[in-house]
Subunit: 196 residues, 2 copies
């Protein structure tokens, strides 16, 4: 079944699977979504889906609106004068890419993560591998702690803004939220630097 | 159908409905849980469930392990020398009441809140009415902002600790987490006091 003539190894194939998966996850929810259906939507063999993404959690993570290079967010935090405010603003922008439904992708992520422990695990592994482990210093306990605390505050702001819709966080501009929360991020990162 | 002989108006009736609802929500999940089943489990007429709790979101909120007087947490934050660390420690303790499954009640709450917008709304209303609106000063924008920011950091810590299980937040003691996050809570509350 390869109606679009897609071949293994083509970047188009990977993109087509991601598009099909995003549609399936949106329509069926994480738990009911099936790799077989996704493969059919993408016009590929199910084995190709496993080839590219290993399993359903891996495929789900690939569908999240994470930045193309997630390390860029962290680099910004560590280069030059650190700016927690910029980290906050970029973090929010990444969930507000679709102006018609800002934050909807975050809500979808929280649904999947809180109801499927394997998604939480896959997301944690993805972040550990691609975002949080950077270079030799990062194995230290103070760096891990700073990463965990920064993550907790960013996740919490997104939860309050998109899911709980707590004012004024729900309606404020990204720049306002960044000005309020940035100093917290700066504080967590400064504590990690002091311990080195 | 009143096998246990429960009568309207009895505190036992309310407690029996909450126990039945907690069992039903745990077994069926929020969306599939039905008021009719819950009433049958509790041995009462469904109309009594509506009488006490208005609707399914209201009943769900009543099942959350929120403190008997949720304002106590906030009072602690505002009386004497403010202690963000104590606020954090009490917030975590409230989700860790069941030592066999610490944090499970938070995970259940996040599932319901992220998949049912009416639960998010009901929880927000509950918090606004019972926790966040305290006395004349609290209508000010700086007080609302402090409340929202404190909430965001507490929610985020619980998310990182229970749902995402990010180390060291997942395995640290409550006192350690309180020491790390307390200064953030103190900072948000101090900013609100300065603006008054």
């Amino acid at each position: 079944v390869s109606p679009a003539g897609r071949r293994p190894g083509s970047p188009d194939t990977r993109a087509a699977i991601i598009a099909a998966a995003a549609a399936e996850f949106a329509a069926a929810g994480y738990n009911a979504a099936s790799i077989r259906h996704i493969a059919r939507r993408a016009g590929v063999d199910p084995s190709l889906v496993y080839h590219y993404f290993t399993d359903k959690p891996g495929l789900f993570i690939a569908c999240l609106p994470l930045p193309a290079d997630p390390r860029a967010v962290q680099d910004e935090a560590r280069s030059g004068p650190p700016s927690g405010a910029r980290v906050v603003e970029r973090f929010l922008a990444q969930w507000e890419q679709d102006p018609s439904e800002p934050g909807q992708s975050f809500i979808t992520m929280t649904q999947a993560v809180s109801s499927a422990p394997d998604v939480a695990r896959a997301l944690r592994e993805f972040l550990t591998e691609r975002v949080w482990s950077r270079g030799p210093r990062d194995g230290t306990s103070s760096a891990s702690r700073a990463t965990a605390l920064v993550s907790s505050q960013l996740l919490g702001v997104a939860w309050a803004r998109y899911v709980m819709r707590i004012e004024p966080l729900a309606s404020a501009s990204r720049a306002e939220v960044a000005a309020w929360v940035g100093p917290t991020i700066d504080g967590y990162m400064a504590a990690a630097r002091q311990d080195r």
